[in-house]
Point group: C2
Chain length 144, copies 2
Amino acid sequence: MTDSKETSIIDKLQNLYLLLSAQFGNCTGVSPSRFRLLQQLYHADEISQAALQKELQIDSAAITRHLKQLEADGIVARRMNPSDNRVTLVRLTDHGREEIVLYRKEMERFLAQMLQDFSMEEQQQLSRMLARMQSNIRNYTEGE
Amino acid sequence: MTDSKETSIIDKLQNLYLLLSAQFGNCTGVSPSRFRLLQQLYHADEISQAALQKELQIDSAAITRHLKQLEADGIVARRMNPSDNRVTLVRLTDHGREEIVLYRKEMERFLAQMLQDFSMEEQQQLSRMLARMQSNIRNYTEGE
DNA sequence: CACTATTATTTGATGCGTCAACTATTGACA
DNA sequence: TGTCAATAGTTGACGCATCAAATAATAGTG
């Protein structure tokens, strides 16, 4: 029986992800999701929640909650799009912009450690494999 | 700036994991964690929660809650270890054993789809890379 | 034997994600 | 223009994980 072998990739993926989230949070002070969200805001100046949702691939409910918290923390400011009252536009506050610079530094360190012994070639290979799995899973959905 | 490039592995890992969890659940009817837990029980006959915790690398609080639910669903039976009243021994019920056979079938299909275009060689490579990252992250913790 | 770890499990608070249901706006078209 | 569909965001219920604190039982030691 190769049972345990066959599942091992899912197991490894899960163990890695859980460890990654926990450690990333410890090191940078924000969760990976929140960091990614801030990263988008950092590059985008001002952006709608729907656009954030598309980038991050996270449920829009989760986006709403992150932003609510970030707004309460003074990291982010929101306003309605005057030309379409359905959409909310989000941007970093000046304070937020300062904070994220620190997060980014920590993240750099973390990432460097995580990939310390990976060659460029390996990193690309890994990236491609992850992307392939993702697309395979997506197709499974449709095929159901 | 190669900013978005540099984070892309974490991004990809997260996107993949979230998609994986959601889809795995849809397809098999159980979450990856719960499946792994059942898998352990399937192979172990009777096992303590602490041992499960070590295998799965999941917080023991989460183990308790999974088992509570599984017990309520009649999948699992728990009893105290008569020779050490601290430990709880867990085993699949007959019903549970039948159920898991079905889950396993679904899981096989899911996994096959996820890795459909991966050669054996690639799968091993991927496994090794995931393990390396995990160990790199662990070391980071200690280094702090 | 009493005292102090250590170990196993549980519970409560919290973070983050999902889905489903609901509101508000906008767009399109008979 | 009135109606209906699509889009953006929010909220509530829920699943699953984490940490910290509490409880029990056992082990080790002077």
